[in-house]
């Protein structure tokens, strides 16, 4: 087994810069969860096939389980903990709660972030656009119906 030296990396997460000493083989997901205790991003497949590890990298949803932590240096990382202010929910989070788009909640952080990235780019998406944007996020509980409703409600037209 290669015992690699830990590397110093600077990660900008939710607007804060963190200087960390991490082994190079750690993924962004592992560093977020284990070093920064930001457990909103989760591992459900370890293959990049489910979306529960979703974070925003410079505003775009990515699979943090497939991203080496070092790859995120110099980029802006947004996790679910970075939404909302001082205990107040972000409008998308509010919509998810109000529209019963959350059941077990394990896929929710990934869904909310992916929805945010969509609405930032496309303030008035159609149902089809919403479903395609979320096509990489798997939900086992809801059947997606109320998730799509919630995103619609949080969109410009929905408000």
């Amino acid at each position: 087994m290669v015992k690699a030296e830990k590397k110093k990396i600077n990660l900008r997460v939710n607007g804060e810069v963190h200087t960390l000493l991490v082994a190079p083989h750690l993924t962004l997901l592992e560093v977020l969860r284990e070093e920064l205790h930001l457990t909103g991003a989760k591992e459900s497949c370890g293959r990049g096939a489910c979306g529960t590890c979703t974070v925003l990298l410079d505003g775009e949803p990515v699979r943090s389980c497939l991203l080496l932590a070092a790859e995120a240096e110099g980029r802006q990382v947004t996790t679910i903990e970075g939404l909302g202010r001082q205990g107040a929910l972000h409008p998308i989070q509010e919509a998810f709660v109000a529209h019963h788009a959350v059941q077990c909640g394990f896929c929710t952080p990934g869904m909310v972030l992916t929805a945010k990235a969509l609405l930032d780019k496309t303030p008035d998406p159609t149902d089809e656009e919403i479903r395609l944007a979320l096509s990489g996020n798997i939900c086992r509980c809801t059947g997606y119906a109320k998730i799509v409703e919630a995103v619609k409600a949080a969109s410009d037209k929905g408000k």
């Binding site: 969860r33 989760k42 996790t79 019963h100 479903r131 509980c141 119906a145």
Partner: protein
Amino acid sequence: MEELSIIGKSAGRVDTAAKATGEALYTADLSLPRMLTGKVLRSPFAHARIRAIDTSRAERLPGVKAVVTSADSTGEKWGVFRYTQDQAFLPPDKVRFIGEEVAAVAAIDEDTALEALTLIKVDYEELPALFTMEEAMRPGAVLIHDSNPGNINVHVKIDVGSVEKGFSVSYHVREDTFTAPEESYFQAEPYAVAASFDSTGNLEIWMPNAGPHLKAKPLSNCLRMPLNKVRVRKITIGGAFGGRSEISPADVICALLSRKAGLPVRIVYTREENTVATRLAHSMTATIKTGVDREGRVLARDITCHMDGGAYSSTGPIATSVPFLCMEQAYRMENVRYNGYRVFTNKPIRGMFRTHGRAFACGVDLQLDMIGLELGIDPVTMRLRNAREAGDYTPTRSLVPSCAMTETIERAASAARWKEKWGKLPPFHGIGIGCNSVQTGFPMGIRGGSSAFIKFNEDGGATVISGVVDNGQGNENMLVQIAAEELGILPEDIQLINADTEVTPSDPGSYSMCETFVGGNAVRLAAIDAKKKIFKFAARALEANPDDLTARGRKIFVKGEPERSIPFARAIRMALAKGEPVSGEGSYWPKVDSRREWVENPSGQLSETFSFGTTIAEVKIDPETGLVDVLETWASQDVGFALNPKVIEGQFEGGLTMGGQGGMLTEYHLWDGGRLLNPDQAEYRLPLAPDMPKINSIIVESHDPAGPYGAKEAGMSIAMSAAQAYVSAVCNAIGVPIKEYPLTPDKIIAAIEKKSKKA
């Protein structure tokens, strides 16, 4: 019933904001001081004797704090039933499936733990392995369990009336065989366990579960600790769907590691481990022979079912029975015989799945379509003529106290505009129907009931204490809504302590669709008990008769005279001032036949009540590719009463997606002998957002006499009828019955080609 202000409304749930912000902690998110990472060493052989295990090198690796093998366990064999105790966690003698737990380590980090696993040497003696039911049942085949000749784990035999006579007077008889491979749960949260002992030997343990009390007792047995020292803690849970109701080897292994290391240990399963080392659903072959009269009414049914149970019993007797029981509830059948066999194979263990036996359910329903075709009767009429009705007894002698099956059929058919469509759609465009019925609870002896306590704060707030567990379906919110409604205060006034075995009283768990019926009723009764005591004091203050009082919106007032009121909190303080503080206590034990046993005596009241429903699906097939486009679906369910309509819709929508879209179009497991080739979401295809059709939810309420506010269940049922509706619709679209599931495009193309060759 008095007008309700909280129950029956689609209020937001109490637990979802924390999930939306990422604050909610699941087991893998827990961090305890000095916590170690645990990893499990798994057998690479499907069937082998363990001759020796050498852990010395692993123990010497710096950073490793504990290594456990069977030597560290009590060697006790566990089983859901006394007569199915066949699984020793960390087996001492032999392994029975690829992936079975053999040893485990706890280390300072994951890298060290993974390296430690490579240093454990296990000396195996490979044995012949059996991978299919046919191989397992062949005379002379090696025995997976010495106690089970022919590798038959369970044989459920039910024989009611006279099927021979029924067939002899039938106008039409047909027999078909239906098969389906395994599917599995794919709860979003992979299994994980965290365990920690304190200095006096109390165990705190967290894991996703469908019944903490049903975890605590086996833990107490396996660890030889009294129940009061085993605390299964409340934790946010990412789905169960029937796969988390039993003690898991990981639970015991994690506790053993923690005890040995003297430090908290957390084991987080990979997705593969969640699929292979917890539970899968059964694969199944069902041969169904049905005889009907001229009008399509079933006169006799004879069913033989073989289910591949994998290497251990698990909930064998239940899993072998429920597929049959669901259909005997849904449809009238006076003369019926059922022979259900659960067979051992050297494969991962199978448990109860939300769609209980898709081959069986789809077979029964598709056969009704086929018979109807032969008699010139349409599928809806076939269902109506055979539908269960309130007041009926099922063949195994359960009384059906409330049932709106017929209404669900009619309303679904009407909403789907069935009459305009069936038989009139263009080629490769079809519509189909499926009907379900599901239990609310199984007979569970001393663990079949739920109790609840309520305590009050001097400012009028309350804490409800209940053993009910929430897997994501909204059970916690259900309890808060019920308590708030019954007490006349607001949901935000209520704190809920639930699913913690140190504090909460026993509860049967969420996997048998009984949390609302049993757990909800217990909370309701506890609230009624408290209210009685509170009204005694309020009556004094209002100079009224306690029977004339009611409570709503934090006020207690005389019925019909809302100005004659006192604040709820005042009554609480009056009681405190009198030295008689108010608390509430309630218990609900469902009225089931305690003598009913799955195998020994499958007769008598199974559950106190049942839910019923109908799903209709409309599909379009691409005849070149065989791909199915589901255009629209309608799910109508008699839920008794909708405590929270939006929450119920969520169950309809999720159930349809799992049982229908996934279960019948894309979900199946692939094997190479005992090796599972698609354990994760890359190759096990779960439905995605753009795959889903519009889902119309039609709630039907039959107001069950015993359910809380009349409520029954809504969690499992739609998964089943959706599966049936999808099959019915696809077969209608192509004009050919398909009896092997799921309906992947290759099977659809093959069926289309076979039909055109015939023509």
